[in-house]
Symmetry: C2
Amino acid sequence: MKNSKEISASVISRLPRYYRFLCDLHSKGVIRVSSKELASIMGVTASQIRQDFNCFGGFGQQGYGYQVEQLKNEMSEILGLNEIKTAILIGAGNLGRAVASQLSFEDKGFKLVAIFDCDPLFKGMKIRDLPIKGDDEIEAFCNEAKPDMAVLCLPADKAPEMVDELIRLGIRSFWNFSHYDIHRKYPDVCVANVHLSDSLMTLSYKIKNNDGNW
Amino acid sequence: MKNSKEISASVISRLPRYYRFLCDLHSKGVIRVSSKELASIMGVTASQIRQDFNCFGGFGQQGYGYQVEQLKNEMSEILGLNEIKTAILIGAGNLGRAVASQLSFEDKGFKLVAIFDCDPLFKGMKIRDLPIKGDDEIEAFCNEAKPDMAVLCLPADKAPEMVDELIRLGIRSFWNFSHYDIHRKYPDVCVANVHLSDSLMTLSYKIKNNDGNW
DNA sequence: TAGATTGTTAATCGATTAACAATC
DNA sequence: TAGATTGTTAATCGATTAACAATC
């Protein structure tokens, strides 16, 4: 694999989609696929697929194409899905509970190991066998378990203080559902943002500008 | 406003963030802001801000900057947040319930008017005063209420059939949390996709390639 | 008027697509 | 060998940044 430092954000954002389609083909028993075929299935150009794959080294065979299973495994390796990182969830409101119970973290390289909420109302409740703990237990837990990542499902106004605390406790990666901009204060930390309301507003824009096509 | 057909996806994706920062400044009582100041607050270049705003016509004053309130209102207008579109939610599982109860649709140009789930278990339950209806009631409801948009929070395997049905019933816009690719079959429809698992895998990649910085 | 900041054009940078030699 | 398809270079396209004249 080439030095991955240079891989652009555009390429990285496409990797999960490649992985999904490869899993799908593999589960359907497909053995080989050419960039042209994959391009047609995914609705992108064959050129882009080959360029993207070659960022990580060539795993195709000229004149033949790509082995589906091998390529899927490469993609999984590149994404780091095999190295399971431990995650804690901060905020057990509606969104937090949905994320915790709906998403299978294990398939995506993470294992959810604890859930925290400041509201004592939740205390004792369980999500998928994980008890909801109080915020006052975060410090002790992190010192003991050294989790790698925190999922932030808490109100925007509580996020800055919480992030300070979590960083102090050694957490260096965040899956951020709040609007708090973590990178601003901590540029070296790993962050993936999910801004649901931005997505909804974008849809509003598209509807307004779809030439009466809706 | 110029012909908005030509606005690039990159620009559109930035509009909600501008709107958020302008709302914030406005709520703090700030009257005017220059592109330079806003750039510094948002962590982008002043050039990009001016270029982006000028896609929609010039609403600044040379030598002075931009009126915060006016600019916020323009942004709201551009995004179509003032024209409330009606939305229905398909799927009242964890994610559906989170989206319905957490997100304030009204602020983002939509009003949630009905919730459907195929599971009779949910029947009679309410989310924010909206009763959960059975899937068998979708047709009658759509014919009567003509909703504009559907939020898809249902399993991927049920999505294709449901989308066919909803399109048949006149729905032309989707906020899509499933992995089903609506645009493939219906290129003219408005879609905003939210792929939570892709976002999580991207985070996994970033952690793996952060030079041991986590 | 002088200073500031926009609107807009030009320059740069990066990403996507096309082309083709290498090779299975 | 002939056909197919990759890996990779070159060409194109688009987005971002810089520069500056217009003007408040």
